[in-house]
């Protein structure tokens, strides 16, 4: 008589099943976040549209310009600075002077206002990466930035996570090259170097890639 007000018997099992289900879903979600929520999945492949359709493939690849023609501070400073508009105009006041694509560049040169490039490789503010130190040790551009000479639009190739940094800091050998080859885009590590843990730069200087916190965080 009170039957229709009573939950059926099977409903007793709903709670434990639901619990298992919720726990399972939570674990899956946590695992998925832990795996896919990393820079490897979120940031690699980031390829923003730039205000000027500048092609690295054309300039660095087909024309064979050295990276340091534009990123001239890379050996002197922590930053591989984006070149001033002036650098573009060195050639482009003679080449493609009527191009619509280059309008923002000519505008910038005329008005002295910067071109707002979109940052591709972005580290957190508490990580103090220094380009010049890496170049001095013999780590080349393509090791971290990939084959920029084949990119029409620049794309992030590596995760730039702390774990990824430390992998190399623990075993720098495979990433080291002759300082003369720093900007050589098609450089491949010597297969023999892949297995040996080397702390000596090709110029003979003993390397101390920091693995302690204040090496990068200050």
């Amino acid at each position: 008589m009170h039957g229709r007000y009573i939950f059926p018997r099977w409903s007793n099992r709903v709670a434990p099943f639901a619990l298992v289900g919720v726990l399972g879903a939570a674990t899956t979600a946590a695992a998925a976040l832990g795996y896919y929520g990393t820079t490897k999945h979120l940031e690699v492949g980031y390829e923003p549209v730039q205000p000027v359709p500048f092609s690295h493939k054309l300039h660095a690849g087909d024309l064979g310009m050295d990276c340091r023609y534009c990123h001239s501070t890379v050996e002197k400073s922590a930053f591989a600075a984006i070149p001033p508009t002036q650098t573009c105009m060195n050639c482009h006041d003679k080449v493609l002077t009527e191009s619509v694509k280059l309008l923002p560049v000519r505008e910038s040169a005329a008005t002295d206002k910067p071109i707002p490039w979109v940052r591709v490789h972005n580290l957190p503010d508490y990580a103090y990466f220094d380009h010049s130190a890496h170049l001095a040790a013999g780590v080349g551009c393509s090791t971290c930035h990939g084959r920029v000479d084949q990119m029409v639009r620049v794309r992030q190739e590596q995760p730039l996570s702390m774990g990824w940094c430390l992998e190399c800091h623990r075993n720098p050998g495979p990433a080291l090259r002759d300082p003369a080859d720093i900007t050589k885009m098609d450089w491949q590590p010597d297969p023999a170097a892949l297995s040996n843990v080397s702390f000596t730069a090709k110029n003979g200087r003993e390397l101390q890639p920091p693995q302690h916190c204040s090496g990068c965080h200050r």
């Binding site: 400073s77 922590a78 984006i82 040169a109 707002p116 503010d125 001095a136 204040s214 965080h217």
Partner: protein, 998 residues
């Protein structure tokens, strides 16, 4: 107080506050707590619950916002300046005009933003170090409360309108010959400004120029005139002195070329070997309230400022009578009549000091304080001359100009205004409406005029001026300045004026109808002057070096010319038994100009550790007499004015002498200085400009909870500072070693660290540390340390990474003090590293105790486990609260700006270490070259008491400094086996045996 059985003993009991000395119940209770009561409460206005709900809301927003990658822009230069490499700082030489001299500076600039001020090692008055104010001027540059546009009767005007006004105003004046026009300047030392003013008076023959400075050095100049018959200025060389006697003069911190004095003093106190203890200088200080100089003294005699004159006269008389010093007959007779010594102790001092001075002819130095009357300066000058010190420890150079900048000139100006001789007034900088002597009634007179005020802030004067013109900061404008010894510097701007301001030079030129920018005017001065031949090359050299070589004056050899001195001595007022009120610059606000500077306001003053404001200092005996304690108010009445303010019961203060600091209690000031401190200018009259006797002081209503850092950070009375005398050290070189605590064998659970490369370390020499606290501000500027405000200081939440602990020893009436810089000790067995649950603080391979903000979750375990209490917790997002765009421009881009909820502490300036290491790597070196890293504190230190460097490099300064570490060195709390990285060198005092018993 509880004492551990293992403590060693030097037989001295040190204490830091009266509460500690007397063992008060509150103090005992406070020992058990790291933070005082209420330290975990939220700031007023937001209750804890309410705060949590805000926090919850912002956390939810943060999660949603975190799903999208923020798009960041890179804005390169369109046309790159030649020298700028993004990421690398540039340094430019300039100079800061300050306190009757100039400080040569090197300013660090990041992509056009000046961020940090350092001293110019080649400039004679800065010697590579700085003072508090020079460090803090960079914050002033970015002060959002700076005046940003011209004002006409409080209405905004553009500079175009202001320029039109100035041009027509100048035109009008020129047709009338400048009748009724006057200019009021500060005590400037700029050749170009002097030239513009001279030209102004040429085109406006009837115009008058007045000068006024609230901290005037007029007495010093007049003292030279009384003694030598001409206007001369003393330039001291403290390094050559064996016996130094300072009479009410804070010459090591606040008077004249203090940095140079402090460096010289340190030179005379350095020990390279134990035997050097024979040659230490001896510093005698006679003063009314404890200053940095008094704290550094070997012998200190406290007396009212008003009694100092009588004491100096007695000393001169004694030297003439018993030690064969020749003085003019009339002067001697006047000295005999005017000399007074209050008490046996002072009498014994006169005898002992006279004997010591006479025994060190040619290598002694006497100094009188700037607030002492001219007659005292004159007698001191004569004694220096008679003792053969002139030309050795003190030389005299011609004064920069003849202008009088004392209170009399404002009296004269007011009189001229009242007589309608002056109808329009141009005020160049300064704030006379606020800081004029009360009897000049300048504010009233000023209000009746057509006035133009040029200043960096809308201060009390600007607020009532007809026109206010926003002045360019010295880091924004061209100028020049002459240091005390005559060395000239060009002031070159680091940045274009943020708000389009103009310099005083430009405004005067505009009124005089002279064409040209500040740059052209300064160049014209020097092209017509010393740099005439081969101008461009010399000009560039001057800008590069920061000073013009060969401009230092040759000293004048003065002769005594004392016609007026006898009368002046007789006219010098003797002190009476009543209350005396003394005026000194406020450590925070100076004369009021830095009242809106957070770094300076939050800096604990070197002796009594008061932040944010001022108080009346009274001696413990006077406090008993008045029945007041710390923070209770007293009413000070000098007849012409009365002021009520809180007291600090100040050990070492002269009885019945009330020390007041001028410059606080500003009424028209920015958001930082608002409602801070008490204005004491109503008490200051032209007759009682330095100090005044005959005051009435009584307990008044009210109390103020003074934000002092005094009783925070206890160390429970262990042997933290060690000192001995040169005599004891010479008798037994191990005297400091014997103070080592008896410790059990120290075994460690951990393996020792091995340091193959660098091993960074620090040495702190307590013998030369004078406790001036420049290091604290330098650290704050370098490391983006937030300002937390008085409420938070009261809760012990100040964020300074480096603090100066000041210990008193002796009786509470008449103690001696020792200052000890205290910061993270970078322990080998760091207790903080062992308790951090997330490894946010770890040991680096070069001995640094690293702190990783992005890993810290804010458990505060490390702070609890640190025996030195040097870790600081961000209770709030201090770096975000009220941070304006301008303020952000000062931040050091090489140091992370911390957020709420993380610990922070001294990093040994790891950003500077990394920068030097990377520079070495770029050059292909294996190690950083010797002494290529210097921490911000060591760089700013005027005396070189702090040295930083590589302990693994036998040639480094720090290793050399530690050559006596076996005799004098000790590490704090060694018995804990935490093995700190900082070695302190014990303080050596050089006592006069004749005075030891006195």
């Amino acid at each position: 107080m509880r004492r551990l059985p293992i403590l060693g003993s030097s037989g001295k009991q040190y204490w830091r506050s009266l509460g500690e000395l007397q063992g008060s119940a509150e103090f005992e209770a406070s020992l058990a707590n790291e933070f005082p009561e209420g330290a975990t409460e939220a700031p007023s206005g937001v209750s804890r619950r309410n705060f949590l709900s805000i926090l919850g809301a912002s956390a939810a927003l943060a999660t949603l916002a975190g799903c999208r990658r923020p798009e960041e822009k890179i804005l390169p230069y369109a046309k790159a300046p030649e020298e700028v490499i993004p990421g690398n700082a540039l340094y430019f030489a300039t100079a800061l005009p300050f306190a009757g001299t100039a400080l040569g500076l090197l300013v660090e600039s990041h992509e056009g933003r000046p961020t940090k001020i350092e001293g110019n090692p080649r400039h004679p008055d800065s010697l590579g170090a700085t003072n508090l104010y020079a460090q803090a001027t960079v914050l002033d540059l970015y002060d959002p409360d700076r005046s940003q546009h011209p004002l006409e009767r409080g209405e905004k005007r553009t500079w175009a309108e202001a320029s039109t006004f100035l041009a027509s105003f100048g035109q009008g004046l020129r047709t009338s010959g400048g009748k009724g026009f006057a200019v009021l300047t500060g005590a400037h030392r700029s050749p170009t400004l002097a030239k513009q003013l001279a030209k102004l008076q040429e085109v406006l023959p009837q115009a008058k120029v007045y000068a006024y400075e609230p901290l005037s050095r007029q007495n010093v100049r007049e003292g030279a005139k009384l003694a030598f018959g001409k206007l001369l200025e003393p330039v001291r060389d403290v390094a050559k002195a064996r016996v130094i006697a300072a009479f009410d003069s804070d010459f090591l911190a606040l008077e004249g070329s203090a940095i140079k004095h402090a460096r010289g003093f340190a030179e005379t106190r350095k020990l390279d070997q134990v035997q050097d203890a024979k040659n230490l200088s001896r510093l005698y200080v006679v003063e009314s309230s404890m200053t940095v100089t008094g704290g550094a003294a070997d012998h200190r005699l406290r007396m009212k400022s008003g009694e100092v004159a009588g004491f100096v006269f007695a000393l001169a008389h004694e030297l003439a009578q018993s030690h064969g010093i020749t003085l003019d007959g009339d002067v001697l007779a006047s000295l005999g009549a005017a000399k007074t010594t209050n008490g046996d102790k002072a009498a014994a001092w006169v005898k002992a000091l006279a004997k010591d001075l006479a025994a060190n002819k040619g290598q002694s130095l006497l100094l009188a304080g700037e607030r002492q009357p001219a007659s005292v300066h004159a007698v001191v000058n004569l004694l220096n001359l008679a003792l053969g010190n002139v030309g050795a420890t003190v030389k005299f150079v011609p004064a920069f100009d003849e202008a009088s900048d004392g209170p009399e000139s404002l009296l004269a100006l007011t009189k001229a205004i009242d007589a309608k001789d002056v109808e329009t007034l141009l005020v160049l900088g300064g704030n006379p409406v606020f800081d004029a002597p009360a009897d000049a009634e300048f504010a009233r007179a000023f209000g009746s005029l057509m006035t133009i005020h040029v200043g960096t802030h809308v201060n009390e004067t600007a607020a009532v001026a007809t026109w206010h013109l926003n002045q360019a900061h010295y880091l924004e404008s061209w100028g020049d300045v002459v240091a005390e010894d005559g060395t000239a510097s060009i002031i070159q701007p680091l940045i274009a004026p943020l708000y389009g301001g103009k310099s005083d030079i430009e405004v005067v030129a505009a009124v005089a109808g002279i064409q040209g920018s500040g740059y052209e005017l300064v160049r014209a001065t020097w092209k017509a002057g010393l740099l005439d031949v081969d101008f461009e090359r010399k000009w560039r050299r001057a800008l590069h070096d920061g000073f013009i070589d060969g401009t230092a004056h040759r000293d004048v050899l003065p002769e005594a010319s004392t016609a007026d001195l006898g009368a002046a001595i007789k006219a010098t007022k003797a002190a009476d038994d009543g209350f005396e009120v003394t005026f000194a610059p406020d450590v925070h606000a100076y004369d009021g100009r830095f009242a809106n500077n957070g770094w300076l306001q939050e800096l604990p003053d070197p002796i009594y550790k008061l932040t944010w404001g001022n108080a009346a200092l009274i001696s413990p005996a006077t406090a008993r007499e008045l029945n007041v304690t710390d923070g209770e108010h007293v009413t000070v009445d000098v007849g012409s004015g009365r002021v009520s303010l809180p007291v600090i019961v100040a050990p070492g203060q002269a009885d019945r002498s009330v020390a007041l600091a001028i410059g606080q209690g500003r009424r028209q000031v920015g958001r930082v200085g608002k409602d801070i401190g008490v204005d004491v200018f109503p008490l200051r009259t032209s007759a009682g400009f330095g100090f005044v006797s005959g005051a009435t002081v009584s307990k008044g209503p009210g109390t103020t909870n003074l934000p002092r850092t005094q009783e925070h950070f206890q160390m429970e009375g262990r042997q933290l500072v060690r000192e001995t005398t040169s005599e004891e050290l010479l008798a037994d070189a191990q005297v400091i070693r014997k103070m080592d605590p008896i410790s059990p064998p120290l075994l460690s659970l951990w393996h020792d660290w091995e340091y193959k490369g660098h091993r960074w370390g620090m040495a702190v020499d307590l013998s030369t540390c004078i406790g001036c606290a420049v290091c604290v501000v330098a650290c704050q500027a370098e490391n983006n340390i937030p300002v937390v405000g008085p409420d938070q200081v009261l809760l012990s939440r100040e964020m300074h990474w480096l603090r100066i602990d000041r210990y008193f020893e002796g009786t509470q009436d008449d103690p001696v003090s020792v200052s000890q810089p205290m910061t993270c000790q970078h322990c080998e067995n760091a207790p903080c590293e062992q308790v951090c649950p997330v490894a946010a603080t770890t040991h680096g391979p070069e001995g640094l105790n690293d702190m990783v903000y992005n890993r810290c979750i804010g458990t505060k375990y490390c702070g609890n486990n640190c025996p030195y209490k040097v870790r600081r917790f961000n209770y709030f997002n201090f770096s975000k609260r009220e941070i304006t765009e301008q303020r952000k421009m000062q931040y050091n881009p090489d140091v992370t700006v911390r957020t709420r909820g993380v610990m922070e502490k001294c990093s040994f300036c790891v950003q500077r270490i990394n920068e030097a290491k990377i520079a070495a790597k770029r050059e292909g070196l294996d190690r950083v070259p010797t002494d290529n890293v210097v921490s911000a504190c060591a760089q700013a230190c005027p005396t070189g008491a702090i040295t930083f460097g590589d302990l693994n490099d036998p040639n480094s300064t720090v290793v050399k400094k530690l050559s006596l570490q076996n005799e004098l060195g000790y590490r704090l709390l060694d018995f804990l086996n935490v093995r700190p990285r900082i070695t302190y060198l014990a303080k050596i005092r050089n006592l006069n045996p004749e005075l030891e018993s006195a």
